[in-house]
């Protein structure tokens, strides 16, 4: 029996572990090793350069520019997305009052709003990016012709082509596509807050703004915090990369105005043929990601509220 048991355990683990080790763990370990080499990625020859890539990275203007954009993204995106989502979720779940005799309820039509808001979440970020690339098109896009339509024909920004606007345009798209997910997530969290808390607050004459800040936000803090980590990883990872890569000219925007760390890793490796240096920047990205998570966890640490 014992023998059969171990054979079963090994048999069930061997295939998943093998795939995972070969395609995920091993490349990850290799990446750190390659970051100390001058490997081009094209030829099999390379030599160790110690910290050469790292000192080069610290003197690389484009690296600093990309890092700066990534940091902006990681600070602004979670703030905007989560605030909007919290506001919407609050309105949809406890914002309405005195309906159906319930002390606490959402505004009318909240079911429809939740379904509609969530929809962009199921769309591929590529589809979303292409759609908005059109909307932003300076000559025939949805935005500029709408501006023309309301008599603002003289205001025709070159959205994605304008170095000072391009990054903001990309951020708007990422917010657009993720808010709905958090509306639904926060709604589920709010539904689990006992109704008597709100009823008691109402009896004491609290306004909705007060109940929002004194009841909803503190009791949802754990969910907000994990949402924050998730948004940050999205801002430093694949989704932001895809949006920038697909939407902005270059890609990377005019004068690297939308370049972000993952995009710079990708370009250095696959466009410039500097695989060793690219993995060095990748390690930089890893450090930024981990620092971000650590900061959020640290700042987010509060007394856990039990209810």
């Amino acid at each position: 029996m014992q023998h059969g048991r171990y054979r079963f355990i090994v048999g069930f683990l061997v295939a998943p572990l093998a795939l995972y080790a070969v395609f995920v763990i091993w490349p990850f370990i290799q990446a750190i090793y390659y970051s100390f080499t001058d490997w081009t990625g094209l030829s099999p020859d390379f030599k160790m350069v110690g910290f050469g890539n790292y000192t080069r990275m610290l003197k690389d203007d484009i690296f600093w520019k990309s890092l700066q954009h990534s940091v902006i993204l990681v600070l602004v995106l979670p703030l905007v997305t989560l605030s909007l989502a919290l506001f919407f979720a609050f309105m949809l779940n406890v914002g309405g009052r005195r309906r159906k005799n319930a002390a606490v309820s959402g505004v009318r039509g909240s079911g429809f709003y939740k379904i509609a808001y969530f929809f962009p979440q199921v769309l591929s970020i590529v589809i979303v990016a292409l759609l908005f690339q059109f909307a932003y098109n300076p000559r025939s896009g949805m935005l500029n012709s709408a501006l023309k339509g309301i008599g603002l024909g003289s205001v025709q920004p070159d959205w994605l082509g304008d170095p000072s606007l391009a990054l903001i345009c990309v951020m708007v798209v990422l917010v657009w596509s993720t808010v709905g997910f958090f509306v639904v997530l926060f709604s589920a969290g709010m539904a689990s807050i006992p109704k008597d808390f709100y009823e008691a607050a109402l009896l004491d004459g609290a306004s909705r703004v007060t109940t929002f800040f004194k009841i909803t936000v503190p009791l949802l803090w754990d969910t907000i915090q994990s949402g924050w980590v998730y948004m940050g990883i999205l801002a430093l990872g694949v989704e932001a990369f895809t949006a920038v890569q697909v939407m902005t000219v270059g890609p990377g925007g005019p004068d690297y105005s939308t370049s972000i760390l993952p995009l710079y890793v990708y370009q250095t490796a696959f466009r410039d043929g500097q695989a060793g240096y690219a993995t060095t920047i990748g390690v930089g990205l890893l450090i930024v990601t981990m620092a971000f998570a650590a900061v959020v966890m640290r700042l987010g640490r509060r007394e856990r509220l039990e209810f």
Binding site: G4, R5, G11, F88, A103, V122, M142, A188, L234
Partner: protein
């Protein structure tokens, strides 16, 4: 949320039913409530329009001629140009991209669910040396940037002769979907009652047989949730195929759309591109509307309370 990213870790929590109890006394507090109501309703409606409008605009544009897309972007189509759709489907190879995506996603979805549930079952229900280590090895994968592993992964694939093949892509999709799948299903298998499995064992079923005939059917709700999650993530995958699959023959949908956007940009065939975009949007749109509850539950399952 794409399958290869770190999803928020939350426990599923069914929304509590709205209390139907009569409100405690006290009158509506006059104007504060009313102005705030108008304001909040206004904001909710505006956001709903902002979400729906670009999608309607895309659908509308896919039926227009190129001229009217450029000259009157907001106008309704003069007549329905179905030729955009047929052009995108056959000439722009959307049919091939669909075919590739279905093969790759179908293969990796089955593989992910099978391998993921096997590993999760063993990790959840058997005590053996190294159990914790293997579990955390899988879970750790949720939190690291894929882009860092991408360059070495390219060469691993190259050495194994898996670049530009559909089965290579399938294996990579499975590998990068395992962390979340194992994480989710491990906690799911822990919640299932052990007595049924024990009864099966006493009746003489082997471990393998118990797993496939007793435990797997019981785990169906969990498999559906995690299956929807992985389906959307793998269907929408862009970065992995872009790097690992450069042969035009094997392009998947997201790659194909970007390619279409680049090439149609030169040809000026905007209507064809819109038709392609809407075509790619329709399957998930339909799936979302039909399985709305399950999709939302599947995607938000997990976030920590």
């Amino acid at each position: 949320m794409k399958a290869t990213e770190t999803p928020p870790v939350v426990t599923v929590k069914e929304p509590a039913p709205v209390s139907e109890a009569p409100a405690p006394g006290g009158k509506e507090k006059g104007s504060e409530g009313k102005t705030l109501n108008v304001f909040s309703h206004g904001v909710l409606i505006i956001w709903a329009i902002l979400v729906v409008l670009p999608l309607l605009w895309a659908i509308m544009s896919s039926f227009k001629s190129d001229d009217s897309i450029l000259s009157t972007p907001w106008a309704l189509p003069d007549k329905l140009h179905f030729d955009n759709w047929s052009r995108a489907w056959s000439q722009a190879h959307m049919s091939d991209y669909f075919f590739n995506t279905i093969i790759v996603v179908g293969g990796s979805l089955i593989g992910t669910l099978l391998l993921g549930s096997m590993a999760a079952y063993v990790l959840a229900r058997f005590d053996f040396p190294g159990n914790r280590f293997i579990y955390y090895l899988f879970i750790g994968g949720m939190s690291f940037p894929i882009i860092l592993a991408l360059v070495p992964l390219f060469f691993v694939m190259n050495n194994m002769g898996l670049l530009n093949t559909r089965h290579g892509l399938i294996m990579v999709y499975i590998a990068y979907s395992l962390p979340f799948t194992v994480f989710f299903l491990t906690s799911f298998f822990r919640t299932l009652p052990g007595s049924v499995a024990e009864a099966a064992m006493i009746d003489g079923a082997s471990h393998t047989r118990t797993f496939f005939q007793v435990m797997l059917p019981m785990a169906k709700p969990g498999l559906i949730s995690v299956g929807i999650f992985n389906f959307l993530g793998q269907w929408n995958q862009y970065m992995l195929p872009t790097v690992l699959n450069t042969d035009p023959k094997y392009r998947v949908l997201s790659q194909g759309l970007v390619e279409l956007a680049n090439s149609q940009g030169y040809k000026g065939d905007w209507s064809g591109l819109f038709a392609g975009l809407v075509m790619a949007m329709l399957p998930v749109l339909a799936a979302y509307i039909i399985f709305q509850r399950q999709v939302v539950a599947g995607l938000t399952a997990g976030a920590v309370k």
